[in-house]
Symmetry: C2
Subunit: 144 residues, 2 copies
């Protein structure tokens, strides 16, 4: 009933799998001086802007306190803009800035190459299947 050995446990396997994938992307991000989490925020806002902080936190899977710090860093570097909603003074309005869009464009070819290499090694169908299974796992644990 319990995983017999540490290597065959879901949390550990998920961690190692993530690390195996991220190790391919990390050098690219490091060259552009953005962390993995900063990059997630930029991408989320690149997909849809403006968003409030709560929405960004959820979409990027980043906790609110981390997001506060990340916002400061990204705003200082001109990648995103930060304001308040007129109708609700509590909510922070975030949006991608031109420099942020430029960064996304700039990294796009390299990302494609890394993703293609990943697909070549693991297989397109396998990735899709894995994404489906992960989504089902997430739903099964979060619902009810």
């Amino acid at each position: 009933m319990l995983p017999h050995n540490t290597r065959r446990s879901l949390p550990m396997s998920l961690l190692r799998a993530r690390e195996a994938v991220m190790s391919k992307f990390r050098p690219m991000l490091a060259r552009h001086d953005v962390t993995e989490q900063q990059w997630r925020v930029i991408r989320v806002l690149g997909e849809s802007s403006p968003l409030d902080a709560t929405e960004v936190a959820e979409r990027a899977s980043i906790l609110a306190p981390s997001l506060t710090r990340i916002i400061k860093a990204l705003e200082d570097r001109g990648f995103i803009t930060r304001g308040k909603f007129e109708d609700d003074g509590r909510r922070v309005q975030l949006a991608i800035a031109p420099a942020g869009m430029a960064l996304i464009e700039e990294l796009s070819p390299e990302r494609r190459a890394i993703y293609a290499e990943l697909e070549a090694r693991y297989g397109h169908a396998e990735i899709e299947k894995l994404l489906d299974m992960l989504e089902a796992l997430i739903k099964s644990q979060n619902d009810g």
Copy 2:
């Protein structure tokens, strides 16, 4: 060729899946004042002791600098012991201590219950299949 939206990307899905699973175990660990990473070290040494630090780091998927801090914390609390190898003064010899074994025993029933609930929600066969796919992904990216 690139994930169209942030939700269907491998790194993000792996992160969210891990979080969905860990959220079930975290309260248990918190009640016993051990972090996720400290718990991984305890389990690794519970499976096989003694081990040197490098081996523990690898098996628990923890980086060396983090392990240094974790060892201090676990040794202070009497969960593990720490010494040096006679034949190589650089290597640190780590082993589970009685209090560490006792903690493993103490948490065992609750872990079983949580794992059973997870299986009930997601399915035994699905877990096995998912573990296999994750292992294949890891191998595909780390080899060559």
